[in-house]
Symmetry: C2
Subunit: 349 residues, 2 copies
């Protein structure tokens, strides 16, 4: 048994955050910012988990895991078995094992039990990656992890990380977006902590208080999501009007205003919107809002110098920001990690 | 014949600008910022028009006005006669007379022919002002002036200036708002010039381009206007919930966001919104947007010191601002101008 390196993309909600809770269409996409996991075999009878970026370092006895935990979770190691969320009893045992929170453990467990034999290396992944069935199974296991953390997860996060590209999501139905262009974006983190649950509840309160106002605002948000899907398809098939990027920019502005109208704006978000606007760039929050992250669309012709300047200004204002792109591959098996330049060397430290 | 002083209030659109063009409800109100006109008889055979605040100083021969203009306009001096907009031929003559633009001349003409015999002084106006019929006639004449300037005026401006208080406007129907509280506001002028016509056209373009998005946004704007009318009525009759002012603030914020979504925001408007927000105050643009003016709601308990500070900061940013209130009387006849302290002494300079 050799060491194994896998990676999965981060995710960004392009349009439809919050309105998705009310049955409207949302569009989410993978990001070319990836999370890497290196699995190294050893014979010390321990499973060691090291997540240096989030400062998590844990060890568990394999024997204890086998006898006290894995037997109850019923992971058969059979790729055809249906993933089942743990029952209450197992959850208790899990919590005893994992004082780091059940999230990391369960997601790791999901990855450990993943069938990887037919996986291909990074360079070829777009054509000869895992089979659809295998990806679907990975997705199912990731969803189990999500269920344990969230309670009622949408399924968007695990689907994007497993499948890559973009998805259209509505009323629990996830549909891959067939024609998704790769788009350059600037991702900015306000570093303002927020609770998704609290923000969703506050939108709910506003919806009850001003239903005749909020209901059409949610319809307008769906209109934005649907229109963007059209523009993406046009861009991808080169049938778009010459102002396709202008349209995406206008729709980003409109969506950001609508998110303000439902009350999930924040002074830091306004600051980022106004700062990027001075460079002719268009920004919206992504996710729950009230802080959190934004994305800024970068047209193909935006110069590196412009991006550097805006990033510098945003960093001076105390934000983190990265230039990246959306629409990259889902979970990847890196068959030749030592010569794979996409893998951060930190992983081998 | 003695000298005569009349005044009429300025106007603010509270909610529904732009959406009113699409048949949605708008709410407008008088302001306690008034325009004063002093008519002084003389025997020099000239009509002199002095508007010092806008630097207009003109004179016309009464004989020429009688022979070349007034005979064609058919102003009979009879209070029961129906005002009629001038025909194309008269418009030509008007333009020859008035190189200051036809607006001022026609509105003055309207005022000169107004029956004032039954008018009462300022102090009593709320109970014994002009009769409804007389006010309606003033309103009709003002509307004639509006038609000449605008082409297709809504009738809101002349109605507010003539009738005072607040009105509900929808599809050319003007309904006085019976239960309108007096509300303290801060009025701020960005001093950014804008063309109402251009802004209305740009909203029209966006409506055509993104109908599925814009149509519900306009519905949401109507929802805001209707909800505010409810809250005004509650406030006026003291049946409102304890958070009536909070509701008005939230609805102002929502409306401002929606106006952003239809594309009539401006960096100066954002600046005013953010500045007043730091004092816990809520602001929206009023009118066409893209610059122009804003109003900021001042709850009854906002202290003079706070208002002074926010005004100072806004003035330092280059804006003009005035504290005033909305919901005051319409056109007034000041029966005893020399002892009427409401009249600016500038009028007698």
């Amino acid at each position: 048994m050799e060491e194994i390196v896998v990676s999965a993309p981060g995710k960004v909600i392009l349009h439809g955050e919050h309105s998705v809770v009310y049955g409207k269409v949302a569009v989410a996409s993978s990001l070319n910012l990836r999370c890497y996991l290196r699995l190294v075999p050893n014979d010390d009878g321990l499973i060691s988990l090291d997540l240096p970026n989030v400062d998590v370092h844990q060890q568990w006895s394999v024997d204890r895991l086998r006898t006290e935990l894995m037997s109850k979770i019923h992971i058969q190691g059979d790729s055809s078995s249906e993933p089942v969320p743990p029952c209450d009893e197992v959850m208790k045992v899990l919590k005893q094992f994992a004082d780091i929170g059940t999230t990391v453990l369960l997601q790791s467990a999901g990855k450990i039990s993943t069938p990887m034999s037919s996986a291909q290396g990074c360079g070829d992944v777009e054509t000869v990656g895992w089979s659809d069935t295998e990806r679907a199974l990975i997705n199912q296991w990731a969803f189990v992890g999500e269920k344990i953390i969230h309670g009622q997860p949408s399924g968007i996060d695990n689907s994007i990380s497993a499948l890559g590209g973009a998805i259209r999501f509505q009323k629990k139905q996830i549909t891959p977006v067939e024609k998704m262009p790769s788009l350059r974006v600037l991702l900015t983190n306000t570093k303002v902590p927020r609770s998704t649950k609290t923000l969703v509840a506050s939108v709910g309160d506003r919806y009850k208080k001003y239903t005749a106002v909020m209901s059409p605002v949610l319809d307008a948000m769906e209109g934005v999501a649907e229109k963007c899907l059209q523009v993406y398809a046009d861009l991808q098939s080169n049938t778009g009007s010459s102002d396709a990027y202008t349209q995406l920019e206008e729709l980003i502005d409109i969506n950001q205003s609508l998110l303000g109208a439902i009350g999930v704006g924040h002074a830091t978000l306004d600051k980022i919107v106004l700062t990027t606007a001075r460079y002719g760039l268009h920004t919206k929050l992504t996710g729950a809002g009230g802080g959190g992250c934004t994305y800024t669309l970068l047209r193909p012709d935006v110069k590196a110098d412009t991006v550097n300047k805006v990033c510098q200004e945003l960093r001076q204002a105390g934000f983190d920001c990265w230039e990246t792109s959306i629409g990259g591959p889902g979970v990847l098996f890196h068959s030749n990690p030592s010569s794979d330049s996409s893998i951060p060397c930190q992983l081998f430290a």
